[in-house]
């Protein structure tokens, strides 16, 4: 029996309504990456992680458990799980299963991004424990009432801190804040830019030329919805990186399968497998610009090929 769509969507919406995130995490886990960076609290321009990189190790641990349940009779008890989750944050326990090495890995990517922005001379703060998840998954699943309330909460937070510009670090938060929020929050006028756009505009110069070739995997949302296609290529190209492009690239990129992980894990893995085969045909050293693409394609690669986040290459090339 497939995972019960209704109950899983119910848990995600309940969590967003009650705990302000589809998978609530402790403040210690969401802000750990920023330790020692001396980022000011708040400010007109802020970096906004939307907890996406921090969530991946938790999602990874959880997806492992969920895919074991898919096609078992236990799926019938998911309704009970939703009832219990109203009183006890069940996802908290999943968080305990998250790998420490994986958490350090994703924290490093966020540090890379913040350090690159600093190096580019961008003056920005961070909302630390007050930062919230964007609501992206609830928006995608069409639970619009819960999403609208949450979007308003995030907008109020920006108002409280006088935020006028947000620098995002992943395509899902970028798309949710830049394209969805204005449709749900009256007068939403915060400027939203991905760090890749900000870095490309800054004119930041590399400190070393990298004699390496990468195979670039475009994110669907960045490429087709948000116009982030040339910026990563420009940043890598300036550093001498040779880019291998798969047949399906840029605006015709192929999905990594990640959006299906919570409801249909087996199908998600099938799509990731198809995409990794296409990427492997184009070359090695696969590079992603989204944490969801990264985790899905890494698993699908099964160690046959390296899959890394673009921030690691940029950090090396631009000397941070």
């Amino acid at each position: 029996m497939p995972l019960p769509t209704k109950d899983i969507l119910g848990i995600l919406a309940d969590n967003l309504n009650q705990r302000k995130s589809v998978l609530p995490m402790s403040e210690a886990k969401t802000t750990r990456w920023a330790k020692g960076l001396d980022l000011p609290m708040g400010g007109k321009t802020i970096i906004y992680t939307g907890h996406m990189y921090q969530l991946i190790p938790v999602i990874d641990a959880m997806a492992g458990q969920m895919s074991k349940l898919e096609d078992t009779p236990i799926t019938k008890m998911m309704g009970l799980g939703r009832f219990a989750n109203k009183f006890v944050n069940m996802t908290f326990f999943m968080g305990l299963l998250a790998s420490k090495t994986e958490q350090a890995d994703y924290d490093r990517m966020l540090r890379n991004i913040a350090l690159l922005l600093k190096k580019a001379g961008v003056d920005f703060g961070y909302l630390y424990g007050e930062e919230m998840y964007s609501g992206a998954l609830v928006y995608d699943e069409g639970i619009d009432g819960s999403f609208a309330k949450h979007a308003q909460r995030v907008c109020d937070l920006f108002k409280k801190h006088g935020v006028t510009k947000v620098i995002t670090v992943d395509p899902h938060t970028t798309h949710t804040l830049r394209t969805a929020y204005p449709q749900f929050v009256d007068g939403f006028d915060v400027e939203v830019k991905s760090y890749l756009e900000v870095l490309a505009e800054s004119g930041l110069e590399p400190t070393q030329q990298l004699d390496e070739a990468l195979t670039l995997h475009d994110s669907c949302l960045y490429a087709r919805q948000e116009g982030v296609v040339d910026q990563p290529r420009e940043l890598l190209g300036k550093a001498g990186v040779k880019m291998n492009e798969p047949d399906l690239c840029r605006k015709n990129t192929h999905c990594c399968g990640g959006p299906l992980e919570s409801l249909f894990p087996a199908e998600s893995h099938r799509i990731a497998g198809n995409r990794i085969d296409q990427l492997k045909e184009a070359g090695e050293n696969i590079t992603t610009m989204c944490p969801i693409c990264l985790v899905g394609l890494r698993k699908a690669a099964k160690g046959t090929v390296q899959v890394n986040d673009i921030s690691d290459t940029l950090a090396k090339a631009y000397g941070v």
Partner: protein, 101 residues
């Protein structure tokens, strides 16, 4: 015999989000869809347009299986915003079948 649901038909008619009326049934969307399900998205939209709610309910899994990746709309000659139409259907099912809003 398939029944036409006036409720679904009315919801589609009133919606600013569901714009599949522009579809000319060329099938490009289905051909480029990474999921490879015959129902997604052209056939499904046809059911919705004529108000066949039972057919929509039979295909709830497929509706939530859409990746919202946008490969279909990128290649749609009629410029239908297909992911937004899928989101509309999910919203309809959430509200009318799952009691979720």
């Amino acid at each position: 015999m398939p029944k036409v649901s006036s409720k679904l038909a009315a919801a589609v008619k009133c919606s600013e989000e569901f714009n599949a009326d522009a579809c000319m049934h060329c099938g490009t969307c289905t051909a480029v869809c990474p999921m490879g399900y015959e129902i997604l998205p052209r056939k499904l939209f046809r059911y919705v347009q004529v108000g066949l709610e039972d057919k929509v309910k039979e295909n709830i899994s497929s509706i939530y299986s859409c990746l919202l990746c946008g490969m279909c709309s990128e290649n749609c000659p009629a410029e239908v915003n297909i992911p937004e139409n899928i989101r509309f259907l999910r919203k309809y099912i959430n509200e009318n079948e799952f009691n979720l809003s």
